[in-house]
């Protein structure tokens, strides 16, 4: 009998069927890779296993017993623990306090039993020590002082510290680690496997999956489409399974003629990401950037726009060279759409009008005066032009649906009338109709001689709207391809580093 059996699991969020009958069998003492593109349903499935979500229908068996828990604590008591992509730790507490947070052994009613606590911490830390490792984690060190990979290990130890761990879920554990630290993590995972723990391993890096996984299950559009033994398949085949059928999508692309170069980026490196990026963006073109989450695409746009520090390299906009502030960039005609609509893209408590006119308040009245009537007239014209669904221009941006919020954020750039559009995931999480509207806007911009740099995780979109595409991988931007010369498969291979 398998350690973990997932049978016919379904989960619906509103109108979206996130999981549509998922099957998964994982054994004790194996590393089982869960593969799929963004939005395939991996996270939803893992959250159900970790107790953060409840399934709508279907069955989960853990060691032949029904696994039906409410909440992450109950899941961990039952023996299923999860380590998230960004470890959730308290930086001001020590390693020991983090490992035992919420599980502190108590003596005489109120006091933490320090000796027992240390014993358990040491036991948990021993599990995550790579064999032959000389440096080890000290229980008393503050977590804030640890490196990302050490934090990853603390999070692992924390997952293992509770009751006997039977299933351990690792979500993109290496995405923020440099190569040698990833190596160390693989050894730790190998050790856990030999102890008979079943490890569900989620990663976009296929070469890494090939190295440490024994078996795999591929999810696509909420369904499990294939599973098998790692040795019996090829990375090419896995990529094919993940990408699957081509999703039909109406992309607008009119005749475009690329003009003069408008932005030149040379060997640009940020504080952490990107490590190195070189490209030239022309008027009248849409240049796409593909890559995995955390590969440094967003950071590239932020560095170009002056939101993040630039460590080295050059950004040349027109005649101006060098780093700059967002205000300076806007004055030069460069605007950016943030990937994070809610936290950064919009001031949600402010009105549509305030959000739309914030970057360009001049010209709405004499001497820096802003006449509400004029600002509202501007807003109304964009509401009409982009078909933004709303009650009136003075309602808070928070009230709008995701698609309409995105249109509002885009409208701000259109109103500012920039020449260079840095668009970060402009269609993330928005409905198909809004999506088509956004594509229409992008196409019209390029046709009018504006330049668009488009970051997207959605490959059909990149191939559908871009003239040229480049792939970012672990902070480095690859060569720029003509969109006609590449396939989704090719981009996925380049992004994941699977030898094509």
């Amino acid at each position: 009998m398998s350690r973990l059996v997932v049978a016919g699991v379904k989960k619906r969020f509103g109108a979206t069927l996130a999981l549509d009958g998922v099957e998964l069998h994982a054994e004790a003492g194996e590393v089982h890779a869960v593969l799929g593109e963004n939005g395939a349903g991996k996270s939803t499935l893992m959250k159900i296993l970790a107790g953060a979500l409840r399934l709508d229908s279907g069955r989960i068996l853990l060691d032949a017993r029904p696994f039906d828990v409410r909440g992450p604590i109950a899941a961990r008591d039952a023996g299923v623990a999860m380590v998230y992509q960004e470890p959730l730790l308290c930086p001001h507490l020590s390693v020991e306090d983090n490992v035992l947070l919420g599980l502190e052994p108590v003596a005489t009613g109120v006091f933490v039993d320090r000796r027992e606590a240390r014993r358990r911490t040491d036991a948990a830390l021993a599990l995550v020590e790579a064999p032959g490792e000389s440096r080890r984690l000290e229980p008393t060190t503050l977590v804030g002082k640890l490196s990302p990979s050490e934090r990853q290990l603390v999070a692992l130890a924390r997952a293992l510290a509770q009751s006997e761990c039977r299933v351990l879920i690792l979500d993109e554990p290496t995405s923020s680690l440099p190569a040698d630290d990833a190596e160390r993590l693989f050894e730790v995972v190998g050790g856990l496997k030999r102890r008979g723990i079943c490890i569900l391993y989620i990663s976009h890096f296929l070469e890494e999956v090939e190295r440490i996984a024994d078996r795999y299950t591929v999810l696509r559009d909420g369904q499990s489409v294939a599973s098998g033994t790692m040795g019996d398949t090829t990375l090419d085949r896995l990529v094919e399974l993940m990408a699957g059928r081509r999703v039909e999508q109406v992309f607008t692309r009119s005749e475009r003629t690329p003009g003069e170069p408008i932005v030149r980026i040379e060997e640009l490196a940020g504080e952490r990401l990107p490590r190195s990026a070189t490209l030239t963006l022309h008027r009248g073109e849409v240049l796409g950037i593909a890559g995995l989450l955390g590969s440094g695409r967003t950071e590239l746009l932020r560095a170009v726009f002056g939101l993040d520090e630039v460590r080295s390299g050059k950004v040349r906009v027109g005649a101006f060279v060098g780093p700059a502030s967002p205000a300076r960039r806007l004055a030069e005609g460069v605007g950016m759409l943030s990937e994070d609509r809610k936290q950064e893209g919009l001031a949600e408590s402010l009105s549509l009008t305030d959000n739309l006119t914030l970057s360009r308040l001049d010209g709405l009245g004499p001497f820096g005066v802003v006449l509400p009537r004029r600002a509202q007239a501007v807003t109304r014209s964009f509401i009409e032009r982009l078909r933004i669904r709303c009650r009136d221009p003075e309602q808070p941006a928070r009230d709008l649906s995701g698609g309409n919020q995105q249109k509002l954020a885009l409208a701000r750039l259109l109103y500012h009338d920039v020449d260079v559009y840095l668009l970060d995931e402009p269609t993330r999480g928005i409905d198909v109709a809004s999506r088509a509207d956004v594509y229409g806007v992008i196409d019209a911009l390029a046709a009018r001689g504006k330049a668009v740099l488009l970051v997207s995780s959605y490959l059909p979109e990149l191939l559908g709207v871009c003239d040229r595409v480049a792939v970012m991988r672990r902070g480095r931007l690859g060569p720029v391809h003509a969109a006609g010369d590449v396939t989704e498969h090719g981009l996925l291979v380049e992004a994941t580093g699977a030898a094509g």
Binding site: A327, L330, A347, S349, L350, D354, R412
Partner: protein, 321 residues
């Protein structure tokens, strides 16, 4: 008039404090109709609101911007001392007033700069300058009240003489209304005002939209300082001495006025009109309690309860929307 045309008015942030003010006023009129309802009492209350009101208008800008300024009480006291010392040294009343206000503006600009460059939260920065400015005031005053001939500055807050009854209230009260009108216009109808609101609402969005956040911060705290300076001038006009131990605890009353008026400690929200109403409400409670004969300690409890209740009611109202 149908309901839908009323709706925009029902959503105004100052509606709550306005209702509270009218209700409280009506309550005290009912309790002590002989004394409280007299016109002269209205004038007295307006006078008593001037200093808190002017300071609170400045604080409204600071809090809408997402900050806070705990040093306002010290700044007001320092201004009275500087004005007194300046008069003492032979400067004319205009120059002395200017000197006092300039010192307060400088203190505000320093607050803003520290918030910017040290990246310390405004609460901590102004907690520090609260002590620094208080100390400076005591030092300049040699730790005692500074007596100086006010040379007419006291007229700002003096009871209006009968021959100028058209003036209704002392100039200081008119100054409060003038400052409030300017600040309200600034917030609602200028580029700077929109930048202040946007920064308080979401500083990341403001940065993304090219708002020069550091510059806006310095200007906002500078304007807060200007308000303290003007309030200090009115305070000197009331006391006619420079008093380094004056206005201790003023910051709490001022913050209460802003918060009652719809301001939020989280920034992005606040209304100058609401703040004025909040300041007036505090005065009405104080004066009314005195008229009714409630001891001081009961007034303090009542004030505290009303602040918390006002906030609770406002929360409920917002959640309903």
């Amino acid at each position: 008039m149908n309901l839908s045309s009323l709706k925009p008015w029902l959503q105004k942030p100052w509606l709550g404090p306005l209702v509270a003010l009218i209700a409280t006023y009506a309550l005290f009129v009912a309790l002590t109709p002989d004394t409280f309802a007299r016109g002269i009492n209205l004038v007295t209350m307006a006078r008593q609101t001037a200093v808190v009101g002017v300071t609170a208008v400045g604080m409204t800008l600071v809090m809408v911007h997402g900050g806070i300024d705990l040093s306002v009480g010290s700044s007001v006291a320092l201004t009275t001392v500087v004005i007194a010392r300046a008069l003492e040294s032979g400067l004319g009343p205009g120059a002395a007033a200017l000197a006092g206000v300039a010192v307060a503006v400088a203190a505000g600009v320093i607050n803003g700069s520290l918030v910017n460059w040290l990246k310390i939260t405004p609460f901590i920065v102004t907690l520090g300058t609260m002590s620094v400015l208080r100390g400076a005031a005591k030092g300049i005053a040699d730790e005692q009240k500074v007596d100086a001939d006010p040379q007419g500055l006291d007229a700002w807050m003096a009871v209006v003489p009968p021959e100028r009854s058209f003036q209704l209230v002392p100039w200081g009260v008119w100054l409060l209304l003038f400052v409030a009108a300017l600040a309200a216009a600034l917030v609602n109808y200028t580029k700077l005002g929109r930048h202040i609101v946007a920064t308080g609402s979401n500083v990341l969005t403001a940065r993304l939209c090219g708002v020069p956040v550091p510059r806006v911060t310095v200007i906002v705290y500078g304007l807060g300082g200007l308000a303290c300076g003007l309030a200090g001038l009115l305070e000197f006009a009331t006391l006619t001495v420079g008093d380094p131990t004056d206005s201790i605890g003023l910051e709490l009353e001022v913050i209460a006025a802003v918060v009652i008026g719809g301001g939020s400690l989280a920034g992005g929200q606040g209304s100058v009109v609401g703040t004025l109403l909040g300041a007036a409400l505090l005065t009405v409670i104080k004066t009314g309690s005195t008229h009714v004969g409630l001891p001081n300690w009961v007034q303090e409890i009542a004030t505290g309860v009303i602040i918390v209740v006002a906030m609770g009611v406002d929360r409920l109202r917002q959640r309903r929307q």
